[in-house]
């Protein structure tokens, strides 16, 4: 029987209260939201919190809304809500691409965006998605809020910029015209973690790629930001040849390890193919030419 080790449980009634509890209880305290990453880790004793602070009652952290030139997503927004949101699909269709293949619909009823990002598993899809669209993480502590770009959010495997006594409250994505995005993933079977996954977002201006974000999941110790591929693409006219070059960079710049999901050369091959496909589909969407 898999049961977590003992811990104390409390239910937060406000964000301020949750943060106060985190501060009071110190490094042994963890936030629990959907629990679909944390509880499995606790059953395996890979996570051993002494206190769990349940934030599921904090409805004020569950929303997807347009605020000025940003799209804001509350940390407690569940996968099912990300999947079904027309607002999100209109601006960033890669979220729906990813949500359709994250675990299964029953798991998606519970898991949250905040929990996914804070788990910081390299194979977790939303981390690559948020990196590609250049999202920012809003982290709140007793002293107020700070905003961290995704490139600084992922510090290492299962480690994020969220410090002791702090919690992730919101994800913000800048809204810019001419954008398109896509997420591509290969998995062994429905609902499994990725063998490899690629997220891409492009912003087209005057027939050229004005800006671009590309990130890989499951092919390194953390989510991989493909900055070299982004540099190659920026300022150029989109073409399949160019995307194939970006795919070659993806293959070279990832660092997969061999495991039950496949050998290294296969994963590098997937990184290349999926990067090329994601860029191609993102561009077609930006140009409203998706087949």
């Amino acid at each position: 029987m898999q049961t977590p080790a003992s811990f104390e449980y409390e239910r937060a009634t406000s964000v301020e209260g949750a943060i106060a509890s985190l501060q009071r209880l110190g490094s042994g305290a963890r936030i629990i939201a959907g629990g679909h990453s944390l509880l499995p880790m606790m059953k395996l004793r890979l996570a051993n919190p002494e206190h769990l602070i349940d934030i599921n009652d904090l409805a004020e952290l569950s929303y997807i809304r347009e605020q000025g030139d940003e799209l804001s997503i509350g940390a407690l927004t569940r996968h099912v809500e990300l999947e079904k949101s027309e607002l999100l699909a209109r601006h960033f269709p890669l979220f729906r691409d990813a949500e359709n293949v994250i675990a299964d619909p029953v798991v998606r009823n519970r898991g949250t965006i905040g929990g996914s990002l804070c788990q910081a598993d390299a194979a977790e899809d939303l981390s690559a998605v948020c990196s590609a669209v250049k999202a920012k993480a809003v982290i709140r502590g007793a002293g107020g809020e700070r905003v961290v770009g995704m490139e600084d959010f992922h510090i290492g495997p299962y480690v994020t910029a969220v410090g002791e006594g702090e919690m992730l409250t919101e994800v913000r994505i800048p809204l810019r015209p001419g954008g398109g995005s896509a997420h591509e993933k290969v998995e062994r079977r429905a609902g499994d973690w990725a063998i490899a996954a690629a997220s891409a977002a492009v912003w087209i201006e005057g027939g050229k790629i004005a800006d671009v974000g590309v990130a890989l999941g499951a092919v390194g110790p953390t989510t991989i930001h493909l900055s070299r591929a982004e540099e190659l693409l920026r300022g150029k006219a989109p073409s399949e040849g160019l995307f194939a070059q970006a795919g070659e960079i993806a293959s070279a710049d990832c660092s997969p390890s061999a495991d039950g999901r496949g050998p290294i050369d296969y994963k590098r091959h997937l990184a290349s193919v999926l990067t090329t496909r994601a860029l191609s589909r993102a561009t077609a969407r930006a140009l409203h030419q998706e087949a």
Binding site: M1, Q2, T3, P4, A5, S6, F7, E8, Y9, R11, I32, G35, H36, L39, P40, K43, L52, D54, N56, D57, V80, A103, D104, P105, V106, V107, N109, R110, A190, G191
Partner: protein, 159 residues
Amino acid sequence: MHVSISVNGEQVSREIEPRQLLVHFIRETPDLTGTHWGCDTSNCGACVVQMDGQPVKSCTILAAMCEGHEIRTVESLEVDGQLDPIQMGFHEQHALQCGFCTPGMLMTARALLDENPNPTDLEIRTAISGGICRCTGYKNIVSAVRWAAEYEAAAKQEV
């Protein structure tokens, strides 16, 4: 800690350890062993129950998190000897052999039809993709859900 959870419309109150999982809380309640405890890793879906109408995997939810929420288990489907159309569909279409996955499949399918009374086969397959059945190859489960959808549509017309 003391928890009080609404299970199938009745308050179940008990002293528990905070680490108790919902699946064990349910199964340790007299007459509520219909919910199956399977893989323990949120993969197999045998433990699916409804929480506020949504199917969830009860092996990956703490019982403590459920206070204030409505839990429904497979025992809630049959009322006064009358089977739910989903159960009738499983019977008619021979959608189980060993039956271990069935409680989770039934609760998942019930939630699907409550939200989408006329799902396509693809929508049914997607909805039950969080459940693993090692007997049927899923074909008869899909047929059973379709049977229930048609039965309910016909019943609605008669009213």
